[in-house]
Symmetry: D2
Subunit: 143 residues, 4 copies
Amino acid sequence: MISGLCRVRVRYSDTDGMAVAHHSRHVNWMEVGRVELMRSAGMSYAQLEREGVSLPLVALTLRYRSAARFDDLVEIETTLDSYTRVRVAFTYTLTRVEDQVVLATGRTEHAAVDRELHPVRLPDQLRDLFGADQAYPYSGDPC
Amino acid sequence: MISGLCRVRVRYSDTDGMAVAHHSRHVNWMEVGRVELMRSAGMSYAQLEREGVSLPLVALTLRYRSAARFDDLVEIETTLDSYTRVRVAFTYTLTRVEDQVVLATGRTEHAAVDRELHPVRLPDQLRDLFGADQAYPYSGDPC
Amino acid sequence: MISGLCRVRVRYSDTDGMAVAHHSRHVNWMEVGRVELMRSAGMSYAQLEREGVSLPLVALTLRYRSAARFDDLVEIETTLDSYTRVRVAFTYTLTRVEDQVVLATGRTEHAAVDRELHPVRLPDQLRDLFGADQAYPYSGDPC
Amino acid sequence: MISGLCRVRVRYSDTDGMAVAHHSRHVNWMEVGRVELMRSAGMSYAQLEREGVSLPLVALTLRYRSAARFDDLVEIETTLDSYTRVRVAFTYTLTRVEDQVVLATGRTEHAAVDRELHPVRLPDQLRDLFGADQAYPYSGDPC
């Protein structure tokens, strides 16, 4: 299986009235993580969409462990969990870089669809990339 | 158990590059639903926070069934699922008003905390309200 | 000129670490206001987009007067400011319903474009609707 | 005057139904830019808030020049525009890294306030940092 790392900073616009990152932001960070994993693996999500395939969510689970605060650096580890001809699932661990506290863990499940949102098969090239056994390091690029 | 209804419209800012509501918006709509349920039940979430108690998420699950599109009216049905002295869980069904298609179902689990995010007991008054058996109708007010 | 009213509630996800609505939300509320104005005038923005015309922003100005807080009801008054064959501008006043305090005023300027983001003329039908002299009341529907 | 650079990537959650970055995201990116400039200058915004001072927006202007698309790398140049004892203004230029196309330019004006949102003076230390004449390079860190 493949896995990858990227890092985001908690923005002020991510915080809520409790002065912590709002729980919906973790959903966006997991998206950032899988987009970066696909880029690392060799097929960016932008390229996949240009080929007419999108991967909307079918299911989402998140467990919140500790609050993220403004300006925290958050590392997102994304791991390919499983895939079939038409579906793919990822798991995520969000960790605060400073003290290595786990902020949240999650899982998303996706169906491959075309531009009209009809089910399609995952491109063979993508499934080949998914079949590798590789842990991609943090590129240092914004994500 | 108590349950309640409210309605939101899919805003343009909710849509993403697939021209459907981004999957993170359902998380915000579920929040809108439980805030409205608490208001209907007699203790608004704003009032709860003024008393020093917040209900951050511990866990979140979502199953996406059908895409919501710009301008769709979405009805959010929120149902109290269970509660203890220190935790509470809600379930949600999001339905497009026009054709009654279920867009998503979800569940959130919350811990009661004080302003320093330390665990506290749910106020007795809130647990009393939770103990009622009542289905609150849609108020017609913005939510 | 035409003008219209709609109402939104400040959601918890709209608040930031200062426990007030984040300044980017006013941008979304102005969008809600003009979408509602176009619906009231007789051509919804969804319909306009189905006909292949979008109205992306060219310019935005906002003056913040007073902070909006969680659960506040906000009334958005949107007024058509001016239009030409290819552009249109709106002004906005955001007011807290409870005490009629003005929260912010703003203005947006838009260019008509087709699906490839190339400039096009505003549909004649829309310009006819813009040419009316009408103040639309708050419909009571979610917006 | 001081100025600084940082870079963000257009996330999928930033896009809207036109498949471009929604116009409200530029507001968040400008916030990212000034937070990063303050960090570069020697007083992070998080530190400022810990000292009890916040800088909410009084005014915002944005001119949109070109659409940002999913996965674009965007460079944010933030420049201190002016400051008094109680106010500060910044200007921004958002540029796509790949082809150096200017996406938008903007300006924000801020008032210094305490935790109760009452006006206060800018800390002397901050005004000293603002008084420098320095162009800070892109740190390479997430922002």
